[in-house]
Amino acid sequence: MVETLVKSANQAVEFLKQVSRPVPDAAIVLGSGVKVLEDLPGEQSFSYEQIFGISPTIVGHAGSLTFGRVDGKLVAVLRGRFHLYEGHDWEVVTLPARVLVEWGVRHLYLTNAAGGLNKDYRVGDLMLLDGYRDHLSPHWKQTGLLPAVMAPAHPCANELSEHVWRVGQQLSGSDPEFRPLQRGVYAALLGPSYETLAEIEMLRRLQADAVGMSTVPELKTAAGSGTLAAAISVITNVWSDDAPIDGHEEVLKAAKAASERLDRLFRAAIAASA
């Protein structure tokens, strides 16, 4: 795909520096249909088109960056992301994360809508990523997917994800309505077709707990940088041999239902972060 209008990370950082002199304390990237941190004090929004020169093409991905305050801390909420299955190359898919890293944002919270592979999961669960499987990187197109499938999961727990875990435990301990967080391994597949039942069984044998089509590019981008990234999957359906397979509309609906708890989690985690 020709991406001639896409801005460089440096150009996007310069734009953001002009509209927000302080670097945000945290940035949050929201996946399909995930709605949190809305109506923040002091909001100021910009379209992805303005910042990155390109907009997402998928329903449920607004394509906007909003600055606002959470407990007095400046945050940047990125609604929507770019996906490899849209035909974008790796540079475009990782552009927002590279911009946040280059800008010096210390804490990056990533979200996605995911299918639950772990049979103990329920629709609406929030899963904190302890690890991920990369089945989507473009180099697999050159080699085939076999090396990726045979490789172990990549661990991704860090200081920030442990912080989120502790905040989640506090919330569930003080409020029975707040479901305890799950922890698990996220398998990122290229898509856009959903997994077959045989692929679901394969991923279960590989001990993956949830499956989706994003997030891993951002985690790989932030790894080793000064930006700590923690990722949470919103479990929007649980794969079962008996259950019908939901379409994208059902994914959006389930993601919305879990958003309230995720909103509380993020507000508490950002407020309590050093």
Partner: protein
């Protein structure tokens, strides 16, 4: 590889057998299949016959599911309006038309990838019964276009029994 589109309830039949002989890359072959699927409005079952290898049980099989291990997906890019952006590729397999063959799970590999014995063992541990190169991308395209697929994978060097072809011919001629 050969493929033909048949209807099972008296609608018209499209023959496309042999049209993909000699292809080198799925991209060029895929264009032909995609064009077939997108220009045809009367038939909804695609029959795909592909060569395979790495069989746990060395015999022609009807595909009942697949693992896409190609590293790619033919639907990457702007969505074609003939199907949904996020198609389900389950429940697309026609397995009851050819009852004389066993069913199995196909592992679709990137063309040219030849798995080692260790890799083949791993592929089987993951649930596949045999490997092939071109059938899985074809199935994904067909599912996206709303078609169901009868996939038959034949061990390399073997021929599909004439009785199976006769069943397909009879079904297509109804």
């Amino acid at each position: 590889m050969a493929f033909t589109a048949v209807s099972l309830k008296g609608a018209r039949r499209i023959d496309y057998s042999g049209g993909a002989d000699g292809f080198e890359r799925f991209d060029s072959f895929g264009d032909r299949v995609v064009n077939l699927l997108r220009t045809s409005t009367g038939s909804k079952v695609l029959v795909v016959i592909d060569g395979g290898f790495g069989f746990a049980n060395a015999a022609p099989h009807v595909v009942r599911d697949h693992l896409n291990l190609t590293g790619g997906n033919p639907l990457v890019g702007p969505n074609d309006s003939c199907g949904e952006r996020f198609p389900s590729v389950n429940d697309i397999y026609v397995t009851d038309l050819v009852r004389s063959l066993p069913t199995g799970v196909a592992a679709g590999l990137k063309p040219g990838v030849v798995p080692s014995d260790k890799e083949l063992e791993f592929i089987r541990e993951m649930g596949a019964d045999f490997c092939c190169y071109n059938l899985v991308p074809t199935m994904i395209v067909a599912a996206h276009a709303g078609w169901r697929v009868l996939g038959i994978v034949v061990p390399e060097g073997e021929r599909l029994d004439a009785s199976v072809l006769a069943v397909l011919n009879d079904a297509g001629g109804k």
